[in-house]
Symmetry: C2
Subunit: 104 residues, 2 copies
């Protein structure tokens, strides 16, 4: 999915990149649940995701406070904990301020 | 590929998301060339890319000036022009300041 974020910059992005372990092990279900949860959080603007050798998920947020609150969500914490152990060989999270955008 | 950027924030990211038209039409060759060119630009820190339904490419840069210079590169401009017409149904570019990062 590609999102047109309906707000003008500045807004915020969380770039999550990961390398998966083999096997699903409940990953797809949890990933769907995480997106569903995030999308209900105040300040959530959208999410884009693609995976081949690595996975890149970019979620967009109104402000840093919305990102902090989402991160503190206990179910999300659980997913992070399980993810570290079971799903991901490695992962990286980058918190960004979107300053400018253009496109077709 | 997943990159560990060897600088501490703040640095900058260009999030490029796209929906492709069907067929390669020289796309792969040009995409490889663009990454090769970008990686030679001063201020280039790394790039991560994944594609399934959409494509997400995130390139990382030392500063905004490096991004501007890369964009002004004439061969890149050519790729953008051709891309608009031939390769992409749609694309979006977001220029971001990476403020914080963590990971495994």
């Amino acid at each position: 999915m590609q999102n047109n974020i309906n707000v003008k910059p500045p807004y915020f992005a969380v770039i999550f990149t990961s390398v998966r372990n083999s096997g699903d092990e409940g990953y797809s279900k949890m990933a769907d649940r995480m997106v569903e949860l995030a999308s209900k959080q105040p300040g959530f603007l959208g999410v884009e995701s693609a995976r081949d050798k690595i996975g890149i998920t970019v979620s967009y947020w109104k402000d840093l406070d919305s990102i902090r609150k989402c991160k503190e969500n206990s179910e999300h914490k659980l997913a992070q904990k399980l993810g570290r152990e079971k799903w991901y060989k490695s992962f990286q999270v980058k918190i960004c301020r979107v300053e400018k955008e253009y496109g077709s």
